[in-house]
Symmetry: C2
Subunit: 232 residues, 2 copies
């Protein structure tokens, strides 16, 4: 057999192995997500997977939402490295568990199940702040009831067109840093058209975490969705 | 053997398989990167791996740099989906090849080698705009001579602490959207301290792609670095 043929066969074999391993990783994650979700239901905990790019304002948004809620909230804070956001939330009296992935580009269900066992949330809300990344987190369930996606006006209005999966899977979309809208070129119509091409139902809410504006609508939506889990 | 033990062994086997597959993917990529880099050297092409978060201004920065260069520049444009950025660059007369990864969170060397075979750059600059992501692109060589990292003032000053690999591996760091600095809380000292803890040598240049400010220093640096490859 020629060297080129041998290389080709080896490469094809490795590609098959790669697909099998990826499918297995994915399946194990989805199974763990479902188990965690059932466990959270029993504890009357409504879980939100909070996703968005680096620096979009995920922690600031949580700091704005949590004081407006009717029940206690816990946060699982995902970062590659550092505990800066956990320290910020702790200063506000919010009970937080830090996960450092070391390098992994998204959180996974086993890590969230473990963190949840440490926090032991009960009859309230569990916010899971995912790694700052508009790509990988959208692919993996982590036990959540809903996905809360945060975009912002400084990122530009083309994000739904370029990163469709996150926008397609979101249950609610926040557009943060609306206080900067007059200084940037953000085309609201283009953005909304892009979102609606992927997602017909998710509310799109413009907010400013810096000014604390726009969060009444968001918290009302969260409370309404949570009723099915936490009871009234 | 008990069910739990069997599950444990199966899981351990899958984890070994996962590590082996990942190492193989990584090794094949690095080998292809080296081959491509040698090919580019022969064509006197200086290649830059352009990295940064979604919406940080990668395409705008390229639009500001390229007209200031002394030789022709080509762009390989990486996106999950859409060809919005390629259309923008084409309007400026910049020859561009679009790669849509479909979902993959970073570009890889075989895709860049293929794109380079289509563009056939010669005696000039090849900018490779990676997927908007501050995590995954930093892990993979794609044939480049240098990594150009773009951050921006609206992302906040804590990014080096949270996404260390990209800052550690960068050869030059641009901080874009400096025109917005008076409207955001950006702590220049904290940012620079975080960068220097990871990276002693990369120049950090504050720019505004919107205003076209700060790019003389960047283009001088690029021209100087390229001399070794393209000759004077």
């Amino acid at each position: 057999m020629s060297r080129i043929k041998e290389d080709g066969i080896k490469e094809a074999q490795m590609q098959v192995a790669e697909i099998e391993v990826m499918e297995d990783v994915y399946d194990r994650n989805e199974k763990a997500a479902q188990e965690l979700n059932e466990k959270l239901n029993k504890s009357k905990v409504f879980a939100l997977n909070v996703m968005g790019s680096p620096g979009v304002g995920k922690t600031s948004v949580l700091s704005s939402i949590i004081p407006l809620l009717d029940k206690k909230a816990w946060v699982i804070e995902g970062d590659i490295q550092s505990s800066i956001d956990t320290e910020r939330l702790n200063k506000l009296g919010i009970e937080t568990y830090q996960i450092n992935t070391g390098g992994a580009c998204h959180l996974d269900s086993p890590a969230i199940a473990n963190a949840s066992d440490k926090l032991l949330p009960k009859d309230g809300y569990l916010f899971i702040e995912n790694i700052g990344n508009l790509v990988c987190p959208a692919e993996f369930m982590i036990g959540e009831h809903v996905k809360l996606l945060i975009s912002n006006v400084t990122e530009g209005s083309d994000k739904p067109y370029k990163y469709p999966l996150a926008f397609e899977k979101a249950d609610i979309i926040l557009v943060n840093k609306i206080d900067l809208i007059e200084y940037v070129d953000f085309d609201r119509e283009m953005f909304l058209k892009g979102v609606r091409a992927l997602n017909k139902t998710a509310p799109v809410v413009f907010v400013s975490a810096k000014k604390g504006e726009g969060f009444e609508e968001v918290t009302e939506w969260i409370k309404e969705k949570a009723k099915a889990i936490t009871g009234e």
